[in-house]
Symmetry: C2
DNA sequence: ACCGAACATGGCACTCAGTGCACACTCGGC
DNA sequence: GCCGAGTGTGCACTGAGTGCCATGTTCGGT
C-alpha cells in the first residue's frame, strides 16, 4: 500500500509536476481512500522522501555503536557514507527525486530539514569525544557542517550525471578533503613554545618532505 | 502597516503559540483585512523573519563589491558578520524569535531555508576566485558550510544567553577557527628575501595540510 | 464454527493557509 | 471635477491536513 502510494505519487509528480498534483489525484490513481494517504505519510512532502526516516535511525545506531578508540572524524565520515549508500541503492529513483526537488521549492525546504537532522546527529556525536577540549561544540558543529557539505557536493554531482559515475569514489574523494582539514589536528603542547605562531624558513630547493618533517617535529606531532 | 502586523503577530505568537494563532487572529488584532496580510507577507512564516530578505540582498551586494585582491575566505567571514549585525541590532526581537523558532518545527524549517540561501550566496562567491584550482566547487561548498556553521554556533550561544554577552566577539572567535583552517596564509614579502629562500608564517592551529598546500603553490609545484 | 478484540481502511465534515478577482478608497497631476 | 496608479478589503474558492466514526478484516480464544 505504501509502495503503491509512492509509485502513484511519483508517476503523477513527474508527469504533471508536484504542485499541480493533489493528494486526491494520488489516491485516485492508487485506488485507495484519501484518509489512508495521511495514515502512511504525515504530509504530501513525505511521500517524496520515504526512506530517510529509516536511514536517519540507521545513522544514529551506527554512531552509537562506535568504539571510542576510533578517530571521531573518520567515524562521522563513515556515517555520511551510509547515507550515500541509501541513494546509490536506487539510482533511478534518486535521480528522479533529485530532478523533482531541484525545481520545487517546497521539496527543497523539506530536504533541507532532513539534511539538518543528519547534521545534528553528526554534531551531537562529535560533541562527546571533543568534550573537555576548547570550543568543543564549535568544532563539532563546523566539522559536521563540512562533512555534510562535502557529502552533498559529491552526491549532487553524481545525481546530475544521472547516476552514471562512481558515487562512492566521488564521496570518498570529497570526504578526504574534510578529513585532511580536521582529521588529525591535536592541539600543540602548550607551554613548550611561547608563541602561537611558527615560522619556517627553507631554501627553495629543499625537498618538500624535509620541510614537512621539520614542521612536524617543531609542532610536536612527529 | 507592515510593522503593525509584525507586532500583532509576535504578541499572539508569544502569548498562545504559533500554531495556535491563525492569520485571522493577527489581522483582527492589527485591525486590518485578512487579504492585506498576504499582500505584505507571502506566508504566515514570513512575518517571523521580516528582514532576512533585505539582509540577503545586502550580503550579495557586499560580496559583489569585493575587490579581487582580498582573501576570499576573509571576505566571506565578513559577509557572515553582516548577518550577525542584523541580529545584534534588535537583541530583544532576535531573542524572542529564537525562542519561537526553537520550539516550532515549521519555523525551524523556514529558518533552514533562509540559512541555506545565505550559504549558497557564500559558496557562489567563493567559486569564482577558486576557479581553476582543483576541486573548486567542493572547496567553496565546504568553506561556506563551515562559515555558516561557525556563525550559527556563536549566534545561537548569544541568543541562548538572552543577548547578554558580546555577540561580535563570539562570532569573531568562531570565525577565526574557520579562517585558520581554510584562510590564505600571509604571503612572504617578495623582494626582501633572497630568491632561493621561502618563508612561511602560520598560526599553530593551522592544519598541517594547509601549510603544505601553501608551500606547494609558493614553490610552484601545485 | 463462533465471538469479540484489535487493527486497517474509508468516508465525511471541518479548520485554516493561500490565491484570484472584483471593487472601493485615496492621492497627485491635468 | 477627472483619472490612473497604487493600496486596502471582501468574497469565494482550492487544497492540505485532522478528528471522528462507521465499516471491513484478521486474528486468537473458546
Amino acid at each position: 500500500m505504501r509502495d503503491a502510494l509512492i509509485a502513484a505519487a511519483f508517476r503523477l509528480f513527474l508527469e504533471r509536476g508536484y504542485e499541480e498534483t493533489t493528494v486526491d489525484d494520488i489516491v485516485a490513481l492508487a485506488g485507495v481512500g484519501r484518509r489512508s494517504f495521511f495514515r502512511y505519510f504525515p504530509s504530501k512532502e513525505d511521500v517524496v522522501f520515504p526512506d530517510h526516516e529509516r536511514c536517519l535511525a540507521d545513522m544514529t545506531a551506527f554512531l552509537e555503536a562506535s568504539t571510542d578508540e576510533d578517530d571521531p572524524v573518520r567515524r562521522v565520515c563513515d556515517a555520511a557514507r551510509l547515507v550515500l549508500r541509501m541513494y546509490a541503492e536506487k539510482p533511478e529513483f534518486s535521480v528522479q527525486r533529485y530532478r523533482l526537488t531541484k525545481r520545487v521549492p517546497v521539496l527543497r525546504a523539506y530536504e533541507l530539514s532532513v539534511v539538518w537532522r543528519y547534521q545534528r546527529a553528526l554534531a551531537g556525536y562529535l560533541r562527546e569525544p571533543f568534550a573537555g577540549r576548547r570550543d568543543a561544540g564549535l568544532r563539532a558543529d563546523v566539522i559536521a557542517a563540512a562533512v555534510v557539505a562535502a557529502h552533498n557536493n559529491a552526491l549532487r554531482a553524481w545525481l546530475r550525471s544521472d547516476g552514471k559515475g562512481d558515487a562512492e569514489a566521488a564521496v570518498d574523494h570529497a570526504l578526504r578533503h574534510v578529513q585532511a582539514a580536521f582529521g588529525a589536528m591535536p592541539a600543540p603542547p602548550a607551554g613548550e613554545l611561547p608563541e602561537d605562531v611558527v615560522v619556517v624558513v627553507a631554501r627553495r630547493e629543499t625537498p618538500l618532505w624535509r620541510v614537512v618533517q621539520e614542521l612536524e617535529t617543531t609542532l610536536g606531532r612527529g
